[in-house]
Chain length 446, copies 2
């Protein structure tokens, strides 16, 4: 069987590796317009903020690896068209050579692309996006310039908040804008996001929330020099747009069933409306166990797993995704937040009737006074069924990075908050309290 | 209704508090021969090893708290007999006053007692056990003596290993004995326990494993001065017996159905063979989801939860325990180990046919070279059903203290190792890798 994979980042790599390792013997062709693969975008802010010196280790696979496994890999090759009826992919190499690859099975792993705010001045020099390695390099080069002092970051989601931290670590003045009233609004309720806002402000990042960018203005050299919002005008030397991503599905969105944001609709086998076409990673929808429905959640962790599922199904073993909870985490200047499932706000937006239980305690036993950070927890649950649909944790302790994985499984398994109260969570003073804050938050649920 | 609770430590307190908070109006009598309550025994080594200065904060409840809630609480009062037929408890106060308390419902929360090795010289001065606060005080006083230099700890389970660390932190020479070939043998397989052995040895603790104590010898003042094993004789100034605990069920073991170690047999409502008698905490059996059967696991975390379950059932709300996995953790000189369910060795001893998948990786993304400890993981699963029945984690990273809670839930929910491979575990370089070591260990399972 011949399998063509368009897109060689996390999802495409996971699909190809699953096929190569578990179902050897298939002919695999991988195509990507980029020159590099497996770039860990979430490492950009760590590198650009000089928490690590170089970007070299932000990759985990390269074309030669796949060539060595017998894969035909075409980098810097742009797919121009897919003929779904005749099962052919048309592409052009860097040197304009025409490529036609027939397929038995096609895998769309084209990921997502940054949303471009359609504002006057959007194409000025000095306005950047942040997804690809090359975009990270461009921003790193800008940060190196002495004259680039004031940086506006538009969008205080994960990417925006992280690159704002990086800019501050590089000694820049940083203005962080968002239309929402807090940072991280899509993953956390205000009571939690405010903790990150305070952390950002304490570290000298200027917050401009509830504020909408209207226009970018240029200096004489055509470089962005001002950002105009619905509230004021600010002098800036650089703008980084981080208002979000959308599915990069143009190649197929007119032929295959798509979600409201253009993402390719798939079932739990990652199969699209065309049985010979699979879609994986950020280009595809995904089943949310919190929502109990398909939705769109662009995360590298989902990309990897969806690739594994597609690889098995294409390889011949029927395997359903167990669905996801949108588990995520962020660490800014040592302040950590993790969440999974839906926030109260997100749940209400989706019409779910929910309640929540909040609690705050020290991570470790109260009698340990050193290195014992406080932890805020919120458990969100359906009021009637009491099924857990979300959890948020915030602390300087890293242990919350493990505990959120338990909540992710609890949502997947449709556990109620009352069942969670009885879950066997171990106790050792070095790590937690006899009445673990997760147990107490669950016990306290009205 | 009148409810008598015998034993006022974690399980008894949880039962009483559940009744008081959720089902007010019952008459509650609490009886305990001890003068203190709610002592966190797992804090003893932390206090005696001077990681904290004083024991004052190792308690979370006192008799007056319960008196204020209308409870009749009799401390330093020893129950001599229970007349199950006539539902009466006979006890004697410190001043030898006779107490008779009739009950509608009785709760046995008498905990566990240290196993005393029946060896010549077992009653010599300078031979200690470690369960109660008073026993912690006695050991602390011994550690303060200049002349007490060489300390033998018999039994390298959790309590023995922790008090060995404490003795070393107090500058003592420490000899740690165990009949097994490693420390922590009941919770960890050798490949994992060896990591703790190396850690103990590196910190100067003399390990004597695969060695059985035979006799204790005394000096002229009747103080223990030598320990004789099946291999050699050792001069010591103090012996701390930590060979384990057994259910403290003498008051009822001849009248109620008991487990092979004398623990009171209970169902998932914590009800004993006598419908008016409940048993909670270390005196009772408990349902193990790993084993899919009742067994005996003496842990404070189980004690708390079993008390909550009993309180609800007595109060009138039918509630089944969700069972436990025996989740546990230990941290010795900053080396952390957590486990849940059964080790390979424990599973095989119980006749289960199991396989396991091991993996080792850094906790955080590979490109973070600071504060990024390696983590060893073992997932144990039934060979045929591939149901996960155990997990072991070892690292200097504290994040394993959260991750083990996910495995505890996975065992409770009978997840297979293949389902675990697809679980939504988030990725952020600050906390983990794109291919999380838990995902990889599950993917690698043969």
């Amino acid at each position: 069987m011949k399998i063509v994979v368009i897109g060689t980042n996390h999802a495409g790599i996971a699909t190809a590796n699953t096929l190569l390792e578990q179902y050897p013997g298939h002919e695999i062709v991988m195509i990507d317009r980029n020159s590099n693969m497996s770039y860990l975008g979430c490492g950009t802010a760590i590198w650009v903020g000089r928490q690590i010196e170089k970007p070299d280790e932000l990759f985990y696979a390269k074309a030669e690896d796949f060539e060595a496994k017998g894969v035909k890999i075409l980098t810097e090759t742009e797919v121009s068209e897919i003929d779904f009826a005749n099962k052919k992919v048309y592409a052009k190499t860097k040197s304009d050579d025409e490529i036609i690859e027939a397929y038995d099975k096609l895998v769309l792993a084209t990921g997502s692309r940054p949303i471009i705010p359609n504002l006057p001045g959007k194409d000025l020099k000095g306005i950047h996006f942040l997804k690809l390695f090359q975009e990270g390099q461009a921003i790193d080069a800008e940060f190196a310039k002495e004259k680039v002092k004031r940086i506006a970051v538009i969008g205080a989601g994960y990417i925006g908040t992280e690159i704002a931290e990086a800019a501050k670590r590089r000694g820049k003045e940083v203005l962080l804008f968002d239309a929402e009233n807090t940072s991280l609004a899509s993953y956390y309720d205000e009571e939690f996001a405010k903790g990150m806002d305070e952390n950002l402000a304490q570290h000298g990042i200027e917050l401009h929330f509830g504020e909408l960018a209207k226009e970018f203005k240029a200096n004489e050299e055509g470089y962005v020099s001002q950002i105009v919002t619905n509230k004021a005008t600010y002098d800036v030397d650089l703008v980084i747009n981080c208002i979000g991503f959308t599915a990069n599905s143009a190649l197929a969105s007119d032929k295959l069933a798509t979600f409201k944001n253009g993402a390719i609709k798939v079932d739990k086998h990652q199969q699209s409306s065309d049985p010979d076409v699979y879609a994986v990673g950020d280009v595809a929808t995904i089943y949310s166990n919190a929502l109990q429905d398909f939705t769109y959640i662009a995360l590298a962790s989902n990309a990897v797993r969806s690739g594994i599922v597609a690889g098995h199904n294409i390889g011949g073993k029927e395997l359903e995704s167990v669905g996801v909870q949108g588990s995520n985490g962020i660490s800014i200047f040592g302040y950590n937040m993790t969440s999974t499932g839906l926030s109260v706000k997100a749940a209400k937006k989706l019409g779910l009737e929910v309640s929540f239980s909040d609690f705050e305690d020290k991570q470790k036993a109260w009698f340990l006074h050193e290195n014992n950070d406080s932890v805020k927890i919120r458990i969100v649950y359906e009021t009637k069924s009491r099924r857990i649909i979300g959890a948020q944790l915030a602390s300087k302790s890293e242990i919350i990075a493990g505990n959120i994985n338990m909540f992710s499984l609890a949502i997947q398994e449709k556990k109620t908050i009352d069942e969670l109260a009885l879950l066997d969570l171990f106790f050792l003073p070095h790590f937690n309290s006899p009445y673990n804050y997760m147990t107490v938050a669950a016990l306290n649920a009205k």
